[in-house]
Symmetry: C2
């Protein structure tokens, strides 16, 4: 069996179900960060994952006679690995949820935008209806929001976490783990 398991973003985010799946695995794959978040519960071989479709198909084959767990930082269905694999998906706490707590804003009042390695479309149109919560990397050009005040949340739950609120035009995205919040 193949399980894609969300490990959350902060220490203590693992769910009972996720821990059970990790403990029962024959092999666990993940990024270094995901393996670190789950390390207390991995009692089998762990492997740093390569992110390519060929590797995903190879792992699916491997799972035919083994319990394979793929760790996904945050939640597998939030710009995550959940749509890449044919397997069972176990949710986890995403950085979106951590950001909404910091902002005091409900998910039903935002649109979550994936701007990792892609240029998102229709941002101005979406801003007419909702606040924007943008998952951004260093290539994201935050100056498109000009004089608007935005929140820049970098490396949430990591030791170099940083949250600033300022006019977009003076800011720069310096981490590939950044969330940008723009109020409607």
């Amino acid at each position: 069996m193949l399980y894609v398991v969300g490990v959350g973003v902060c220490k203590g985010h693992l769910t009972r179900k996720a821990i059970e799946l990790i403990k029962n695995a024959d092999v666990v794959y993940g990024s270094k960060r995901a393996l670190k978040l789950a390390e207390d519960y991995i009692v089998c071989e762990k492997r740093v994952m390569k992110y390519s479709d060929d590797e995903y198909r190879r792992i699916e084959k491997e799972s035919k006679d083994k319990n394979v767990v793929i760790l996904s930082t945050g939640d597998p269905m939030v710009s995550g690995l959940g749509t890449k694999f044919n397997g069972s998906i176990e949710p986890g706490i995403s950085s979106v949820q951590v950001a909404l707590v910091k902002l005091g804003v409900d998910l039903c009042d935002v649109v979550v935008v994936d701007a990792h390695a892609k240029k998102p479309e229709n941002l101005n149109e979406l801003l007419r209806f909702r606040h924007l919560l943008i998952l951004a990397d260093r290539k994201f050009d935050i100056s498109i929001f000009g004089d608007r005040g935005v929140y820049l949340m970098e490396n949430l739950c990591m030791e170099n976490e940083k949250v600033v609120c300022d006019k977009a035009v003076g800011l720069e995205v310096r981490s590939d783990y950044t969330i940008v919040f723009v109020r409607r």
Copy 2:
């Protein structure tokens, strides 16, 4: 201290952090469903909560000299109690996440709409950009989507869970725990 703690929607969704907060509480408030989901870890007095602003303010006062935990089914920041209290918020797995797993759809491709006890606006405009994931109750008129195919997901993770996919016009929302998915 006052903590609003997400308990998830399925058995096994509680996080390590949530369990720790519940175990350390002096009193735990929640709906019957939330108290049931957390029951294995409640070692203090538990009280079924009344949902009113007066009661929220009274509980805030009570928390000045006690550890008070308010359980929130799902995630406190998803049409939840997180924005009602002045306290520390701990995320949980929401029904939105469970629905996205069933659908195989990423959060960054949808807009989450709260239609609990309110009539949501701009649905047709939002559908131009994103799929819709609507948190609905029995008062929600699903027939507004006419001949469109929709997913109706009722009572996710409860014993009477039901998922149907059909034309909207023939369907009816029969549970106050319903998620409606409309493809863009």
